[in-house]
């Protein structure tokens, strides 16, 4: 008996060579324990070594194998073939990003935004190493922990229609990570970070679609980070209007 197969329609594109992206059909063995990434690896190993895509850990930690699977942003290492049986399965590069080649997208815009929100602990004065660690209670950890689970996979950007319409928007993951450090008891960078999060292209561009939180593979709720930052930003704005001398 011949082995059961499943069809993948994979986007191929070489900017500069191809006029536009096109779908190429591949047939791969159907195995219940295979994920879409396994199927792509099978194609690259056995059928077409020129297929380009990013991956590393294949266990939902590195955040590099994000692609559109049947139009939905997914980590391909967590998208089982059995959930798409009998197929075909459409595999495309993450939406809303420029394509470098095939399924590889450009990270430049996201990297710039990530740096802009300063997602690291900012101290006014750094404590000398001899004085030991910055201690934190479990309750202080709980405040920001879910936002620290972000793996920068950018699925939320691919799901965000606001980012798709106008990429000046800082976007879900970067705002969630900025917010994560604002909530950290060890951090003293709120006054530096908050104005960046609450500028016009920051939280205010968000139109509460909420798809970012739906597609997040790590259970982060960027939509909540954005809405809570709006509350803080609105309070500060009204305070600065009422008490002009008390503004930042």
């Amino acid at each position: 008996m011949s082995e059961e197969t499943i069809t993948l329609e994979v986007t191929r594109y070489r900017p500069g060579h191809d006029r536009e992206p096109r779908a190429q059909t591949f047939s791969v063995p159907y195995r219940k324990d295979w994920v879409v990434l396994d199927a792509l690896n099978h194609i690259k190993d056995r059928t077409d070594g020129t297929l380009s895509y990013r991956w590393s850990c294949r266990m939902g930690v590195c955040g590099s194998c994000g692609m559109m699977v049947n139009g939905v942003p997914k980590l391909t290492c967590a998208a089982f073939l059995r959930d798409y049986h009998p197929g075909p399965i459409r595999v495309e590069p993450l939406a809303n990003f420029p394509v470098v080649r095939d399924l590889v997208i450009s990270l430049d815009d996201f990297m710039e935004k990530l740096r802009r929100v300063k997602p690291w602990i900012i101290r006014e004065v750094e404590k000398p190493v001899a004085e030991g660690e910055y201690l934190q209670t479990p309750a202080q950890l709980d405040l920001y922990k879910q936002f620290s689970m972000c793996i920068n996979c950018m699925l939320c950007y691919a799901a965000c229609p606001v980012y798709g319409l106008d990429p000046v928007f800082i976007g879900p993951a970067a705002i969630a990570l900025g917010y994560r450090y604002n909530l950290d008891s060890r951090d003293e960078g709120y006054r530096i970070r908050q104005p960046i999060l609450t500028e016009a292209v920051g939280v205010w561009d968000c139109t509460f679609v909420g798809e970012c939180s739906v597609v997040c593979p790590k259970g982060v709720d960027p939509a909540a980070a954005i809405q809570r930052s709006k509350v803080a930003g609105a309070k500060e704005w009204f305070m600065s209007m009422l008490l002009p001398w008390g503004g930042r």
Binding site: R116, P161, V162, L165, D166, P195, I196, T198, E199, A200, V201, W204, T207, F208, V209, K230, V231, G233, A234, E236, W237, F238
Partner: protein, 114 residues
């Protein structure tokens, strides 16, 4: 990157309080005055309601009830239009949406204070 001063927090603040009013006050008000009173579950004479409406605190309540949800609507409406692809028209859409809410606010004040 520009850090231009933005009026968004103001409109979002009105959207936010308008949402609270729309979610909590409007259903209660609709239940009382759309069902309970007309169906006789609460025996109140129309004359009594007429007298209540004349009270300054009730006028304030009605102002909050009517005007604030208009800003909730305006903000949503503006973003819905932008999201369905009218992004290039964002300035006129904002003026139209918030302008309508402001007109509604003025009309509400006029009706309540005349």
């Amino acid at each position: 990157m520009s850090t231009r001063k933005t009026s968004e927090p103001f409109w979002w603040g009105l959207f936010s309080v308008g949402g609270v009013v729309a979610a909590f006050l409007v259903p209660v008000h609709l239940f009382l005055h759309g069902l309970a009173v007309p169906l006789g579950w609460i025996p109140v004479s129309p004359a009594r309601i007429q007298a209540l409406v004349g009270h300054p605190l009730i006028k304030l309540y009605l102002f909050v009830l009517i005007a604030l949800p208009l800003y909730h609507w305006a903000h949503r409406f503006r973003f819905i239009l932008e999201d369905v692809g009218l992004h290039a028209l964002r300035a006129p859409i904002a003026v139209l949406s918030y302008g309508s809410a402001v007109v509604g606010t003025v009309l509400t004040l006029w009706v309540l204070l005349r």
